[in-house]
């Protein structure tokens, strides 16, 4: 076959270019370890998402030192959980599935981007080194409300990150002069022990108590405010641990300030 000399040269240069592209991509995959979403996860029927350990309660979990897992459910037209909160500079593996149609889970401005196909679980391990709030969007058309499908990802600085959950058991009403007792449960989702302080406010009274919650466990703290220190009427209370705050109201005295609505 008669090929012009220039054309031969061009052909060789083209092949060099092509092989060069393949080499750089292979280097990115093998050398830099940029792995791809693949078939490592088992399939799951969309109907079983609610029974699945990972997805019945979409959440973030710590699974090892500097290793976290986020279980995310996509559906028309939202993501659960929302927001997703993770620490910076830690490996986070996202597991994402869909309840209905094909979506995507896309953290805007990053390469954290995967299709979410009903029946499949997408797994991708990433590490964010810049704390901040990132937008999460679905970038695969999923129905008439597609453009409303939005979530957010909050990346906390590593030393400010906690997986603390707070619940408070407090009375709605106490008699005049009675003590107000708040029982505060602190759940530590991290593997490390949590050494912190519980701040309680009832009315004008403030109390503090130090607490240590072992990794993965829940501790209860009881705080009692002397009834004599409280004015009759509605008293606001709040209990806080780090950034978590619970609030409520306790009524002191019998039907105090409650007669106005009576005819």
């Amino acid at each position: 076959m008669n090929i012009h000399a220039y054309e031969r040269l061009w052909l060789v240069a083209s092949m060099v270019l092509i092989v060069g592209f393949i080499v750089t991509i292979t280097y990115g995959t093998v050398g830099l370890g940029i792995t791809m979403v693949d078939d490592r996860e088992e399939t799951i029927s969309p109907d079983d998402v609610d029974e699945d350990d990972r997805f019945q309660d979409p959440r973030v979990e710590q699974v090892g030192e500097n290793e976290f897992e986020a279980y995310v459910v996509s559906m028309t037209f939202l993501f659960q959980p929302d927001p997703i909160e993770i620490p910076a500079n830690n490996e986070v593996t996202f597991y994402v599935t869909s309840r209905d149609v094909i979506h995507s889970f896309t953290v805007v401005g990053t390469n954290t981007n995967t299709m979410v196909i009903p029946g499949e679980v997408s797994a991708m391990t990433v590490e964010f080194d810049e704390p901040g709030e990132y937008g999460v969007v679905c970038n695969e058309y999923c129905g008439p409300g597609h453009h409303d499908m939005e979530g957010s990802l909050i990346v906390h600085p590593e030393d400010e990150y906690s997986l603390t959950e707070l619940s408070v058991d407090a009375p709605d009403q106490v008699g005049p002069g009675e003590d107000v007792e708040l029982t505060i449960s602190i759940q530590n989702g991290l593997l490390e022990d949590l050494e912190t302080t519980v701040d309680v406010e009832v009315g004008d009274e403030t109390l503090e108590q130090d607490v240590t919650v072992p990794g993965g466990e829940t501790e209860q703290v009881s705080v009692t405010v002397d009834g004599d220190d409280l004015e009759p009427g509605d008293a606001e209370w709040s209990a806080s641990v780090d950034d978590e705050v619970e609030t409520g109201t306790v009524t002191i005295g019998d039907d105090a300030d409650d007669g106005g609505d009576e005819p």
Partner: protein, 584 residues
């Protein structure tokens, strides 16, 4: 001057005209939908509800990349086969029946799509008449069954068209034993071989799974499987749009430049490479898909990179042919020959600008093909940027420019408004530069494609410029492209009625500088290439498909349908889901 095509082959000319007419009607509607989208998603002007945006988007996709491109293809290929074999089909009834089948299929699918504009669409075959599923119709989004039925009829029509051209060639071969296949016919036949191999994927996806499922005959399907079958077809289909443009670049552009094709053998090699490599690459559209292992994605990536080769070879041959033409016209110097090209000819200028945009878009395609960089741009506005430079300009602008050369030969009428035609192709180029500049840049900062309102609670981090500036560029580009389309359609329409005139075109195609006698005869042995292409397809797809079926089952892990519900039902579901979130 030789006889015009319309005088030599009046019946074929009628068919080509009919195909072009359908194609251009679709172009007009698709362009209107396009400008509506450009203005809507940027928030400049919203004429439809955002929920209806997706009806517009489905129409834009289907009418432009299915109807406009493929009807133009069948028209052009009918011309190419007839002109290069110098004979009509064996039986004209077959020719008209494939045209009829394609038209009926288009009409049915169009009705399903356009019904999406009705407030209260009627029920047809047990479900609401609508098809807001976009051009990719990913299950479990579900359209009305007639949408899929329309697509099937259309594709069967294209299969018959291919059969018709093969039959014409076989008849020619009997009369011309031992002769090489004329290059235009060779291009037509190889394109159709690629099309037969690749459209099997979408045929199986629709006939075995999606159509029976939309009729309620089966309850569940495997979305990963139907999606993979779609992309088995979905990448080669882009070459089905592109190869008619290649035909014009190889056959017509050198002549318009004032010379002749540089190398006939290399043109054949290029088309054979497309037959071999177009299909075993589809998984590169699924780099982000779960359920497909990294190894298969890697194979698709390497195959895709080798697909650069035919396009790089084309760049060489086309530019070399243009330079040869320019030098024939008295051009000299290293680059000064560029001045000697016929820049006042809209057919030439349109194709040359299209080729320029195609070269740029090719590099953005390499970014898409790079499997790890792809994660940054996948489904962002970058991707429609790529599509609009490639199909939306390399193909569409070449078709329009080609029409300026071809339509006078098909009608016997002189082209009306040659100056305006020149303005039209340049306007298209300017429009696409604005629009895709915005799309590429917006895609890099994460603006999603296929969204009615890509404005969210967060702000995009625009590196250079601002979001407003990007939006304005996109909207402006969209408007310029729409105006350019209207000008094109007006020129063609006026030309069609410009009956009392003689066209100023010469339809003869000069032989290549280096003719087919320079190439081994095996290039023309199509059976060899079909065999190798099938082997490559089996290597690339057998194991991935088996693995998908093994993992999720042929009919999926119990994935129910999800009709595209509107208004009441949708907001109810949305509301229930939202309450669910608040509780949990």
């Amino acid at each position: 001057m030789t006889d015009l095509f319309v005088d030599e082959y009046p019946e074929q000319a009628r068919l080509v005209r009919a195909a072009f007419l359908t194609s251009f009607v679709a172009l007009g509607i698709g362009a209107l939908f396009g400008v509506i989208q450009a203005l809507h998603r940027t928030g400049v002007f919203r004429i439809v509800e955002s929920t209806t945006y997706y009806t517009v988007l489905t129409g834009h996709g289907v009418f432009l990349v299915i109807t406009f491109t493929i009807f133009f293809l069948v028209g052009l290929y009918q011309w190419a086969v007839t002109d290069s074999l110098q004979r009509g089909p064996v039986d004209a009834r077959l020719t008209w029946s494939w045209y009829g089948l394609m038209s009926v299929g288009t009409l049915i699918a169009a009705i399903a799509i356009l019904a999406g504009f009705l407030d209260d669409p009627p029920d047809v075959l047990g479900s609401e008449l609508s098809a807001d599923v976009l051009f990719t119709f990913y299950a479990p989004l579900q359209a009305n069954p007639i949408f899929y039925a329309g697509l099937v009829l259309f594709v069967v029509g294209t299969w018959l068209a291919g059969a018709d051209w093969f039959r014409t060639w076989w008849a020619w071969k009997r009369d011309h034993p031992g002769e090489r296949i004329p290059l235009p016919t060779f291009m037509v036949l190889t394109t159709m071989i690629m099309w037969y191999i690749s459209s099997i994927g979408v045929a199986v996806a629709i006939l075995a799974f999606i159509l029976p499922w939309s009729l309620g005959l089966i309850d569940s399907l495997n979305p990963t499987l139907t999606r993979t079958l779609f992309w088995y077809f979905g990448h080669p289909v882009v070459y089905f749009w592109l190869l008619p443009a290649y035909l014009l670049w190889y056959i017509v552009l050198p002549k318009l430049s004032g010379g002749r094709l540089f190398s006939d053998p290399l043109a054949r090699v290029v088309f054979i490479l497309f037959v071999l490599l177009s299909t075993p690459v589809g998984i590169h559209h699924q780099y982000l898909d779960p359920g497909i292992s990294e190894g298969f994605k890697f194979i698709a990536m390497t195959n895709t990179m080798f697909l650069l080769l035919p396009s790089l070879l084309t760049a060489f041959t086309v530019v070399a042919s243009m330079e040869h033409g320019a030098r024939q016209r008295g051009g000299t110097g290293t680059l000064n020959w560029l001045r000697a090209l016929p820049w006042k000819d809209p057919a030439f200028t349109g194709m040359a600008l299209a080729g320029l945009v195609f070269a740029f878009g090719g590099f953005t395609g390499i970014v898409n093909a790079g499997m790890n960089i792809n994660y940054l741009v996948h489904n962002s506005l970058w991707v429609p940027g790529h599509i609009h430079t490639q199909v939306g300009t390399a193909v569409a602008l070449t078709f329009m420019a080609g029409s300026y050369w071809l339509v006078p030969q098909l009608t016997g009428n002189r082209l009306v408004g040659r100056q305006i035609a020149l303005f039209q192709v340049v306007l298209w180029f300017v429009g696409i530069v604005f629009m895709t500049n915005s799309m590429y840049r917006a895609g890099l900062i994460g603006v999603p494609r296929r969204s009615a309102e890509p404005q969210y609670a967060f702000d995009y981090e625009v590196g250079v410029g601002s979001m407003t500036e990007l939006d304005v560029q996109l909207a402006l580009g969209g408007v310029l492209l729409f105006v350019s389309t209207v000008l094109f359609l007006a020129i063609i329409l006026l030309t069609a009625f410009n009956t009392d005139s003689d066209p100023l075109v010469d339809g003869t195609i000069p032989p290549a500088l280096s003719g087919p006698e320079d190439s081994p005869r095996v290039l023309d042995d199509l059976r060899v290439w079909i065999g190798i292409a099938l082997v490559l397809v089996v290597i690339a797809y057998a194991i991935p498909l088996a693995s998908i079926v093994d993992r999720g089952g042929l009919f999926g892990p119990d994935v129910g349908p999800f009709p595209v519900v509107v208004d009441g039902v949708m907001y109810l579901q949305h509301g229930v889901a939202y309450v669910g979130v608040l509780i949990t």
